[in-house]
Symmetry: C2
Subunit: 633 residues, 2 copies
């Protein structure tokens, strides 16, 4: 360093240039190991086993696979009292909703009850969420029903339709469990919240229109029509109830009360004589086995697998999201991959016991949580209640009017339309709003699977576009500091004559090197035009690499090319703060040390400018050319 | 700030906390405009028109679309002399290679000569590269031939095969021109260099094996076999010649010399009587029109469009890469989108004048450059030479043996196998090597289009994986500075007790919020375990956002969730240096200012630690709990 330049710095004696160093050498195998671990085991599930005795390991392992062992050993009467109340409460919701959602899926109503009996029992043993209330849900029911209807008519071939539904459930479970076992749970992350909001609103509108048709079909009993808005307003309170615990008992009991009152009413007035459609006789007894119903061959196998995949992803997304939401509220942890296995296994078993796709339902889980559920035992209570219903109470449903089921469905799905969330998305991120709108319109006007696929494609395309067209930002010095920031963002930041400081804000790879090359040259040209006006000249191009998280072989070639181009222009290329992976690869590619030298590699922009300025100044004392202003520290 | 803590800092009086500010407000429309411009017009092609008179604009516009106007107006006899020599040189290569490559594409040899006549003329008018030598190339010929052969046999239905080849050429041109006009040129960037190296090596092996079969088929003229290794070694010099200009004239003339010598030899010994396959009679005269040969209907349309797409992309990639390479060597500029339009238009016109897919060939362009080409006029000279050949010299080729064409093909494609480049890729980036290997094996064992698709899919998957599993890095203070860097990379960096400083190195969005949440909690847990041992406690989680280039609505929700979780743990969440887009969205989402406050938002990690340490210290004077060490500045 030229000592003459020293009086320009307030504490120049302290100035010291820090080296950029590559990270310690690791073998390829080690790196691969770390990368695989971060990709598939980011939560490090084996950490709890470290340094434990074999016996403890076995106990911990059993508790990992069967969380019931964990909470079961400390179970008390006090906990049971809470779980009993909440279990009965969600049962009162699960019974009418189960019947309704089965109808939504074009399945016999009793399948909805079957699905509220076996799966909750399995989840109680395997699941790690305390609040999840398991059973059929509206979205998966709708998707299952509408996808299978593409090839088979539920009214003309009801047995085949049921077989396909059960086989789809099997594939859904298999797929869900595989995601968990293979630790590919991140796949469901691609159904972003924006997509789900759009999708659910679109699905709600489709379902409502379908049900409205059947609701409007009742011509002889106009009084019944008035029930819809009334029940609507009552049921709507369910969603409010998460926020208003006072009205909660009223709203949680409302669907069952409506079913009871309307059934009594229909029984009293002999409604079938008035043209009102009733559920009719239901078979008494618990779930029959349905192994023999699963069809793994035939012309519908493709559709069945696709339906399983879509309903599997959708129901998994709902279950995991609900589990995570209540875990965060209750300050406990659910293991995503573990939950996937539990939900998947539950559906595989369900498919052989006459159950269709089930998962943790948002509305019922909220009620469960509000009613004071402490453990998964509330699912057992619910399950037993459903069992009692199946065994003894089925004749009572004979007079339940179908219209009340339609109303239950409509009120449940209308609650899925989340206008405030849509507004929030519009305010923060317009592209997310576009994705949401695509999912919404795609589901309504094209189909469930294509609407979802287009929306996922669009949001993935956005990520790729961010990489393909990374931001390059011109930086300036914040006066009185050695901090360099975006000139556009920080209006008081000032440029240093002779320097062009750019920050590249993305990994550099094959997809963006052409753009980065073009864009950098354009920065340089614009800079040179400015400099002609100001009679100064550009000497250094500083690239701040702090935000370049990765690089590939194409990225390396960009720097070589850029260096050659800059040399022809008489501009020196300087790199600042390349991160571990980047400096490692740059060093590997630059065996002869022509590219990465101490005088063009710095740890901070401040040190680079200070060091290069002093070099420039010492040169200019002879050439008397540059009038550089060095920032004060 | 607590003045008591001041004596810990060497120049505390200077310490000043700088605010993070959002960028100046811009309307959504303005942002969309900027984003679209950066996506589609990164090179800002209209810049040269700014502030010019209408007349100048028209002249500049004409020069933009017809670069011949630009160099044509200054054309001199001296330039012509250079172009004449280089044009004749590449013609001597283009004639034998044209015939050979047409054979590679299963087309009549004369189509190769037609394709070396019209397209170079069109490129000379529209193209902006001075060095590009236009004509048929081996890769596109191979792909065209092998893809069309999937449905039509070139030997049984030669006319239909030619029709499909010409129609594919039309679609290739249409697709290329569309990419240029719609400014979607970045699509070809997805064929990364690693993919091309693997793909070309695979293609070379397929072609060589094919040709070897026909070479080995010659049983009656064993002497001819010896020619292959000889010619191999001679032709191989072409690729060397770029580096060794001395041997250049020998190697550039070698293919033509071989054709002449072997033709004379075959004529002298009446080779057809010895069972040697000859080219046979060729039709004399220039390109016939082939509009009527284009088939836009029928059962092969799908294949033809797919073939057009793949050959279009491949030939475009080669042409653009060659153009860019020589432009960088010659320090001039080629406009990628403009070149795509030129190459596309050239192929559309070519398809109606009996030409198949053409582009800028790497080997001939290298020869062109070495032979001293100054402008695209060398293409005109070559074209005229080919025309003369077509009109007058066709009878001379009657006795050319097919085996010499096979040898020309083999030597050309063997040069495509680039072992040193493969080694270089292995050394720098193992994943790129995997992509290369996938392209190589996919092309050999599956098919051209699927091999390429899998390789592109794999490299895109890598980008998505980098986003889905972003790096989070723990940072420490570099002693004696206020610089914070990766603890793993900089071994002398030290941790600050009570602080966990993480840098997130990717945009935060729907695809990674689950991972980031899990990973951050794991960092915290590990930290808490360490702290228990050291009897200290974690007080602040500092997230350095310098490398978070973008955020979406899901990303915003991550911070809200993280803040809530941290509050339950008694840890304060502090953000450092959120970039323009990020701070803007965070502010929008946080209307009530509960989240983004002055005491948890800092411009640098150094300032955050200094400010928070002094707060902590002023608290600890009463509680006597923390023993914090504040770094010295």
């Amino acid at each position: 360093m030229d000592p003459n330049s020293c009086n320009m710095h307030s504490h120049c004696v302290h100035m010291e240039i820090h080296q950029v160093v590559p990270p310690p050498h690791k073998s390829t195998l080690h790196k691969l190991n770390v990368r695989l671990k971060e990709t598939f085991f980011p939560d490090d599930p084996l950490r709890q086993f470290k340094g434990k005795s074999l016996k403890t390991k076995i106990i911990l392992g059993a508790k990992y696979f069967f969380p019931i062992l964990q909470w079961g050993s400390n179970y008390s009467f006090k906990l049971f009292k809470s779980d009993l109340v909440s279990g009965l409460t969600i049962a009162s919701l699960a019974i009418p909703q189960g019947i309704s959602y089965a109808k939504l899926a074009n399945l016999p109503p009793i399948v909805g009850l079957y699905s509220s009996f076996v799966p909750p029992l399995i989840y109680a043993v395997l699941g790690s969420s305390r609040d999840l209330a398991v059973g059929p849900v509206s979205i998966a029911s709708l998707v299952l029903g509408s996808m299978l209807r593409q090839e088979v008519s539920p009214s003309q071939e009801p047995v085949l339709f049921l077989q396909l539904a059960l086989t789809s459930t099997f594939f859904a479970g298999l797929f869900q469990a595989s995601l968990g076992i293979l630790r590919l749970g991140f796949i469901i992350d691609f159904l972003s919240k924006a997509i789900l909001i759009g999708f659910m609103a679109g699905a709600a509108i489709i379902v409502s229109l379908q049900q409205l048709k059947s609701l409007l079909g009742i011509t002889h009993f106009t009084k019944e029509m008035g029930l819809v808005p009334v029940m609507s307003s009552v049921f709507h309170n369910i969603h409010e109830s998460i926020r208003k615990p006072k009205l909660f008992w009223v709203s949680a009991g409302a669907p069952l009360m409506c079913v009871i009152i309307s059934t009594l009413l229909c029984f009293a007035i002999k409604a079938q004589n008035h043209g009102i459609s009733l559920i009719g006789k239901l078979h008494q007894g618990i779930n029959p086995s349905s192994w023999n119903m699963l069809k793994f061959h035939g012309s519908h196998l493709g559709l069945v697998m696709k339906t399983g995949l879509i309903t599997g992803i959708l129901s998994l997304t709902e279950g995991i999201a609900v589990g995570r939401t209540f875990a965060a509220l209750g300050n406990y942890k659910v293991d995503g991959n573990k939950e996937m296995m539990a939900i998947g296994f539950m559906n595989v078993v369900g498919s052989s016991t006459s159950c269709y796709v089930t998962t943790g339902a948002f509305s019922r889980s909220a009620v469960n949580n509000n009613a004071g559920a402490k453990t998964a035992a509330s699912n057992i209570v619910m399950s037993v209640t459903v069992m009692v219903t199946l065994l003894f109470l089925m004749p009572l449903f004979q007079y339940t009017p179908n219209v009340v089921l339609g109303a239950i469905i409509v009120t449940a799905v209308i609650g899925l339309i989340d206008i405030p969330a849509a507004c929030h998305i519009w305010k923060i991120d317009k592209f997310d709003f576009l994705v949401m709108l695509t999912a919404f319109l795609g589901v309504i006007f094209i189909s469930v699977q294509e609407g979802l696929a287009i929306a996922v494609g669009l949001s993935t395309f956005r990520i790729l576009l961010q990489i393909t067209r990374p931001k390059t930002v011109m930086m300036g010095n914040i006066p009185g500091t050695d901090i360099y920031r975006n000139l556009h963002q920080y209006k008081d930041a000032t440029r240093i004559p002779g320097f062009l400081i750019l920050s590249i804000e993305a990994p550099i790879n094959f997809a963006n090197i052409t753009y980065l090359n073009d864009r950098t040259l354009r920065w340089i040209e614009e800079e040179e035009e400015d400099n002609i006006k100001e009679h100064s000249s550009l000497r250094f191009l500083i690239l701040d690499m702090s935000a370049v998280s990765a690089i590939d072989t194409s990225g390396i070639s960009l720097f070589k090319e850029l260096k050659a181009t800059m040399e022809k222009k008489g501009v020196e290329l300087v790199l600042v703060n390349p991160l571990a992976e980047v400096i490692e690869k740059l060093k590997k590619a630059d065996e002869s040390n022509t590219f990465i030298r101490a005088d063009n590699l710095f740890l901070t922009v401040g040190e680079a400018v200070a060091s290069l300025s002093s070099t420039m100044k010492s040169q200019s004392t002879t050439t008397e050319e540059a009038h550089t202003i060095v920032p004060h520290y």
